[in-house]
């Protein structure tokens, strides 16, 4: 919970600064994320969304990718995505498509 709050405070300053960089969360060191911390992450993600920054959450554990998807879904940030590898994360930061729109398009093609 404290980690999420500190992260939110630190990132708030970074987001205000140009140029519009993407945000990369490396979650490999995370062991758990309690409900209250998830809500802080939702609030943080909403701030990132407001600045229209791309976000990638990277973790090689399905559980935490699911948590990240929950966060970005509740934050309604179409520019965020949870991925398994750093390469996929960097790739996501470089494209323009929205997460859900991109998936729907590929599913229906």
């Amino acid at each position: 919970m404290r980690g999420a709050t500190e992260l939110e405070r630190e990132l708030a300053g970074e987001l205000a600064e140009p140029p519009p960089l993407g945000v990369l969360f490396l979650m490999h060191g995370l062991n758990d994320c309690v409900e209250a911390a998830r809500q802080v992450l939702v609030s943080l993600q909403q701030k990132v969304a407001k600045h229209e920054r791309r976000t990638a959450y990277v973790d090689d554990r399905a559980r935490f990718r699911g948590m990240a998807l929950w966060v970005m879904h509740l934050a309604q940030d179409p520019n965020a995505k949870a991925v398994s590898t750093l390469d996929q994360g960097l790739k996501w930061l470089g494209v323009r498509d929205g997460r859900e729109q991109d998936a729907a398009g590929r599913a229906a093609s």
Binding site: R61, R65, L69, W70, H73, Q88, R99, E100, A103, A104
Partner: protein, 225 residues
């Protein structure tokens, strides 16, 4: 349409959901736990579009792989996205098909989904190889599991009709899991086989001793709270 989780569904939306849930139960034998989220996210018109396209795409995947393996692929696609509800429900549907066809229990129990999700992806693949590699009957399933993992990690180009359908399946569940992520395991069998309640009961009875005797998979990193 944007999601406002504080928005209460309108009377019309609630009546619609109740009707859809009743019909779903009657026709398919189950209802999904994230219907409200779908309506909140897409609205009523969007719900119909979502349902139409996702069903059509899943039908295509079934036509290619067969309904049994389509559920296995749906489960794994959801698993890698971290959606335990869909991973559990499609694994259960798959396992019921296997049990009905062969009388055997598939070596990946749907109850294992949540604990497997705590593992690193490489550990999960090791576990799947170990369990599916023991029986020649599961060679095709293991081949699909391996190929799907390869494609989702974008480790090489897609090639051939299997890959095309696996990529479609990956995309479909990225889309479905967008809303299903708010639901949690356990889930009902997420397929028409849910109508076979007696089969499900026999399956649970067959699983019971195996569940009692088999150790659960444990993630390398212990949970710290």
């Amino acid at each position: 349409m944007t999601l406002d989780r504080n928005r209460k569904l309108s009377l019309i939306e609630r009546a619609f959901l109740a009707t859809i849930n009743g019909l779903g139960d009657l026709v398919t034998g189950y209802t999904i736990a994230f219907g409200e989220e779908l309506v909140r996210q897409h609205g009523l018109r969007g719900f119909f579009k979502w349902a139409g396209v996702t069903q059509k795409t899943f039908d295509e995947i079934c036509a290619h792989f067969g309904v049994e393996d389509a559920h296995l692929m749906a489960s794994l696609a959801s698993f890698w996205n971290g959606c335990d509800y869909c991973a559990y429900g499609h694994m259960l549907a798959h396992n019921l098909y296997v049990f009905e066809r062969t009388g055997e229990l598939f070596p990946v129990d749907e109850e294992d989904v949540v604990s497997l999700m705590r593992m690193r992806d490489s550990e999960v693949m090791g576990e799947l190889r170990s369990r599916l590699g023991k029986a020649a009957a599961y060679a095709r399933k293991l081949e699909l599991v391996e190929r799907k993992n390869h494609l989702r990690l974008e480790e090489g180009p897609a090639d051939g009709p299997d890959d095309k359908m696996l990529l479609k399946c990956i995309a479909l569940y990225e889309w479905v899991n967008e809303c299903s992520i708010v639901a949690g395991a356990p889930a009902p069998p997420l397929g028409v086989i849910a109508k076979k309640k007696a089969l499900h009961q026999r399956y649970l009875e067959a699983r019971a001793p195996e569940r009692a005797s088999r150790p659960r998979p444990v993630a390398a990193a212990p949970k710290v709270t």
